[in-house]
């Protein structure tokens, strides 16, 4: 039962990722694209967790943890770049 659920869920996440990618490529503004990448980070957390559930292993959780932790850093850097140009001042 769990495996079907995870399969179904990961299918949905994949669709979400594809839609994010669409937004990323289409834009139209740069902030749109930054948000799209950020959302892709979030979706990939879900995808990795689901992968771990499906395979019954915990070895991927750290990857998810790291994406959650670090994905925000690059989004923040992009935003800072848009605002100030110089990200470390």
């Amino acid at each position: 039962m769990l495996s079907y659920a995870t399969l179904f869920a990961s299918g949905l996440i994949c669709i979400a990722l594809a839609l994010n990618a669409w937004r990323l490529i289409v834009g139209p503004t740069t902030p749109d694209r930054i948000i799209a990448v950020d959302t892709m980070y979030i979706n990939s957390i879900a995808l990795i967790i689901l992968l771990g559930l499906y395979q019954g292993t915990t070895s991927y959780y750290e990857s998810a943890l790291l994406i959650a932790l670090l994905g925000f850093v690059s989004t923040a850097a992009f935003c800072k770049y848009l605002l100030r140009g110089d990200i470390i001042e």
């Binding site: 930054i34 892709m40 991927y60 750290e62 990857s63 994406i67 850097a77 140009g85 470390i88 001042e89």
Partner: protein, 931 residues
Amino acid sequence: MHYFWVPFLPMLGIIIPLLTNKFNRSTCALATALLPALALGLILFDLPAVLDGQAFTQSIEWIPLLGLNLSFRLDGLSVLFSLLILGIGLLVILYARYYLSEKDHMGRFYCYLIMFMTAMLGIVMSNNMLQLWFYWELTSISSFLLISFWSHSSDARKGARMALTITGAGGLALLAGIVLLGEVVGSYQLNVVLNSAELVQQHPYYLAILSLFLLGAFTKSAQFPFHFWLPHAMAAPTPVSAYLHSATMVKAGIFLLARFYPVLAGTEVWFVVVSLTGLFTLLLGAYTALFKHDLKGLLAYSTISHLGLIVLLLGLNTELAAIAAVFHIINHAIFKASLFMAAGIIDHESGSRDMRKLNGLWKYMPITATLAMVASASMAGVPLLNGFLSKEMFFTETLDQSILGSLSWLIPVLATIGGAFAVAYSLRFIHDVFFNGEPKGLTKTPHEPPRYMRVPVEILVALCLVVGIFPAYTVGPLLDSASLAVLNHPLPEFSLAIWHGFNIPLLMSGLAIAGGLAIYLNRKPLFRFEGLFPAIDAKIKFEGAIQACVRWAQKVNQTLESGSLQRYAFWLCFFALALIAPPLLDLDTTRGSQAEYPLNGAVAIAAVLLVAGSLATVIWSHYRLIALLMLSLVGLVVSITFAYFSAPDLALTQLSVEIVTVILLLLALYFFPQHTPTSKSRPSHFVRDLAVASLIGCIIGSICFALMTSPLDSISEFFIANAKTGGGGTNVVNVILVDFRGFDTFGEITVLGIAALGIYKLIARMRLSMRTKDHDGRLWATDKYPVLLSVISQSLLPLFLLISAYIFMRGHNLPGGGFIAGLITSIALIQQYLAHGVDWMTKRVSVSYHYFIAIGLVTAAITGLGSWAFGQPFLTSWFDYFSLPWIGKFELTSALVFDLGVYLTVIGATLLILANLGKLTTKERLTVGVR
């Protein structure tokens, strides 16, 4: 055997003159002579056995697979040459002690001289052809140094360069010949090669081998048309001329012919080419020598002529001719070395070498004059002197020739004419210098040299007489054994005697002497006739040719090296393509036998994302910020790919590196134009690049597919089996990094540290303008450090550090480790820079990031060295399990300390790069000299 040490003793001796140079000159000379004398003693010790006809070889294997052995050989020929090299070498050392002035650096001179001696000994004693070639080139180099010893003189420099170019080029030809010969025979050992004459001479490569060998020999021995370097090499100090250009180096080419006589000689081609070259050189040298006004110039051309004579003898198809050649090698070395030394004495004590100025020196230096006269007479071939004997043998052999068919009678006639010229120039040497009136325009009054400067000449002239009068008792046995080595089979009957009765050779000798006298008496009209020809300076021609070569090379270089990196990159890719593609054409199918995984939806979507991301990066590459966003999409999908295909460590690393790269590129982008100007490259270039890139992509994809679907025999089984037992960890990837391949990892973090330091230096003093508006012309926001970002970043810092510590600690057993933990910590700190700015961070982190790199590397190195303390190889890891109350059982391992080194280095390198790049816009930026 003792002789094995012979080539090594002078080699050790190279340094001695430099060490003893600070003592007085005689001490220096004495110390220099010590080891060659010892080597001479060793040769004499083995002499009796060699004279019995034995040949010894001895070798040490070096790279047996390539046929490279350190191998020495002692037979009659090498003994003969070794005696000449060491004996005359010792005399030259004594002579040079008095010849060199106070201003000359004596230690350096002796150093070069001994180096040359080593090289010559190496040539004559090598039993391996490649080794022989090595020494051969060493003689070219050391003779270059010796000729250019007076480097302040332009003539010396040019002469040295010419000698090096000609003999060096010949050396390359010789190398090619040796390699061909070695491949044909299947061995580079001389004792094998010398006995495979039949195999070699019937091989289709024989002509190529022969011509390459002859090129090598003729350039070295100054045979026509390569003879012109030798007169210009006379710019060298006279001891060098006496040693190199009479007795040894120019004989190396002859030695080569003699050494390979058993295997290369005996064919029609050999006889025709070698004898005609020798004959022509003999005549040309003898004729030109007569007209030289410079003493050493005369001797140089006479040397060329005598070398031609020896080569001619080696090219005559009788065995006795080869014996005569060996005999003349000995005789020529003796009388020519003494003549050069005498010429040096005259130059030294009268200040000139010009025969138009030097006249009537008899009354100023009667002893030297007598010695020089005896040696000249020997050169002319006067009876009772050694030169006469070999010349007589030479005349005998020319009579019995058929190589020129019905014109063969020309050979004895031309030989007699050459002999007549030899008599004429010898006469000129004697009469012009020692008699013929009074000296003209000399700067100083000539006088006898210091007592010991004359000793070497005296010894050599005495040898001329002794050999000339008692040939069979003195050089007979030596000549026998050397000839045996040259011919490689039992010798024919021959007799060494002064008197063979009235016969044709004697008549030829008489004619030569009479003719020479006649030529000399009629020299004035001859000189006038010679003066009608325009003077050709080989130096100018040679330099012109060299410069033409240089110009041509520059032209080619400028065409190829246009300075456009873009073009280089294209050609690099193009040739990579051209090299990789052909082997793939031979492969029948890329799909191997390995079972493949079925495709599923998630992977398909990921693939679509990857392709779309890459394509979008290319398409948006003109809008650089957006290209960066696309790139981060690719990075994300790549790390998910790693995770999906069972590589959690890689996923973690890729993820953190991706973040760091994005920050790096964003930092850099600030200083670059935001958009790439379009339409800059030509459409044809666009299509060309697209084609090359696509083809390479196809090839990489095909190789990748072939690789994955082919059955794999991996060495990884070992790592998996031993990770727990040998390395004490269950995460095999990490155990490989810190234990099995720890040395590689150590190298890699060193590279990382060096790269970071390089970047640090590049950042210093970088001047770039800052922009005040964004690309669309909007002013920057005024809020430097948004509060929300600052608060969240600061509060996340402990969490970051906690996670990085966790990842670090568990790395040995579960995905994680020093690399990843280091990157996470770096990102945490960079985030603080981002949110709070440089000033805020500088107040809190006062330590320089260099120290992180240094401490990290030192930690890793010490961990590695630590295993030495326990008698284990570098970087052997240690681990054990302990238990503590409350905490329970835990593992301690030395690999963890090594990993700590990795961790620190990664932090140091990353932050050194990013923080300093960030500081570029602040007052904390790097300036030169200030950290």
